[in-house]
């Protein structure tokens, strides 16, 4: 702090010269970090273990990752470009996210490295306070930016994976199945949000047209809770299917859901409901003019 005050009084160097000196300082810094690579890297790995970060990985793995992170870190300091580091961070995240590594651990280890390196700078320049100050001035913005880049890369990768999985769950969770000629079933499992309800309806309507369905059984046994929004979506789905000439039977309303619907006063009078999926399919078969009989009843009695 004291030095900063002194700086303010002395005339400021022109920006050009300042950039040059920053570059020179960074070069000196990088040389120092390269020279003490082994020792600093070990110190860092030790501190990671001590802070109980990356517990999902073995010590050898931590050391191997630490080595490449260290090299990338020094390279980013040297070149001042972060693209390579960004790509590496993304690649690293891709490998360690499935292992259960948390965001705080990744941010934690990068900050630890920053501290380890800053400590070593203190050690090297403690006799020349002014030089130390200037070195830190050059080092800190770059180091902060590196920490930022790695953290953002990790979070972005994580978000990408989450989005991908959400998409996969959505695709998987709304299968429209044909069980008989002109009879579709749509088992709904999980939470229905407006987006999913919309997608579900669209998928069902398309399936009705392609399969020329006359009856659809929507089974909501797997839906844990229902509020007025979800109920209205369901009513809309039923109405839209009717416009395409298909009758909808809703099955599997749990006692809790039935109670909720009555309590919140959703009008389900337009909806045909049957207790369970079996009953629903039987009702659908009746509508379609099928009758399922045991074989012995079909064979003429002697």
């Amino acid at each position: 702090m004291a030095t900063k005050g002194k700086d303010a009084q002395s005339p400021l160097p022109d920006p050009q010269a300042q950039t040059e000196s920053t570059a020179a300082l960074l070069r000196e810094l990088v040389a120092h970090l390269r020279q003490n690579r082994t020792q600093l890297r070990e110190e860092w790995a030790r501190r990671i273990t001590r802070a109980q970060l990356l517990t999902a990985m073995t010590e050898e793995e931590i050391f191997a990752e630490a080595t490449s992170v260290y090299d990338n870190y020094v390279e980013a300091l040297e070149t001042g470009t972060f693209e390579a580091l960004q790509a590496y961070a993304r690649n690293l995240s891709e490998r360690i996210i499935p292992r259960g590594v948390e965001t705080h651990e990744v941010v934690g280890i990068v900050l630890l490295l920053r501290d380890v390196l800053a400590r070593s700078l203190f050690g090297k320049y403690h006799e020349d306070f002014d030089k130390l100050n200037r070195i830190l001035d050059a080092y800190e913005p770059a180091a902060n930016r590196i920490a930022n880049t790695v953290a953002v890369g990790f979070v972005q990768e994580r978000e990408r994976i989450i989005r991908q999985q959400q998409e996969a769950i959505r695709e998987l969770s709304t299968p429209v199945l044909q069980v008989r000629e002109r009879l579709l079933i749509l088992p709904i499992i999980g939470v229905i949000d407006p987006q999913r309800a919309r997608q579900l309806t669209e998928q069902l309507l398309r399936a009705i047209r392609t399969n020329r369905a006359k009856v659809v059984v929507i089974d909501i046994t797997g839906v844990a809770a229902m509020d007025s929004n979800v109920a209205n979506h369901l009513v809309q789905t039923v109405e839209a299917s009717r416009l395409l000439g298909a009758t909808v039977i809703v099955t599997g309303l749990s006692p809790e859901i039935a109670q909720t619907l009555v309590t919140i006063g959703v009008d389900l009078s337009e909806m045909a409901t049957v207790g369970d999926l079996q009953g629903g399919i039987e009702e659908a078969e009746r509508l379609l003019g099928y009758k399922v009989l045991p074989l012995e009843e079909l064979t003429p009695k002697a």
Partner: protein
């Protein structure tokens, strides 16, 4: 644009070919109701496969056609509503209550065959599906 109305047995088939103005729709309504009497039709099919938009006036007119034709002794079925149109309609609350619908022309004919057969068997007044 005028909508062609075809007579097929006991049924009238109006096949809408392009987007219609409100005046066209009203004209279709008048023409259909008049012809239900003239041809002693038992059923009316309105095919809307070509429509990719259905506004409140169109929905109201279709409903009016169905109700008026029923008063004149013919059952109406709307066929060929596209999935996207159906979805948009329910979102807007335009649900064609009390009007029969079917997937396409073939389904509509099958539906009318059953309905008019029922009418002969049971007499009028018990036809409402919705």
């Amino acid at each position: 644009m005028e909508v062609p109305i075809l007579k097929q047995g006991h049924y009238l088939i109006a096949s809408i070919q392009s987007a219609l103005t409100d005046a066209d729709l009203s004209q279709l309504r008048e023409a259909l109701i008049e012809r239900v009497g003239r041809f002693r039709a038992r059923g009316v099919i309105v095919d809307v496969t070509a429509l990719d938009v259905m506004d409140s006036f169109a929905v109201r007119t279709l409903r009016d056609i169905a109700h008026m034709a029923r008063l004149r002794g013919a059952e109406t079925v709307i066929v060929g509503i596209q999935p996207e149109v159906a979805f948009a309609m329910v979102q807007l609350g335009l649900t064609l209550k009390g009007v029969s619908t079917a997937l396409d022309l073939e389904e509509g004919l099958a539906f009318l065959n059953i309905q008019t057969q029922l009418r002969i068997d049971r007499g009028p007044g018990r036809l409402d599906r919705g």
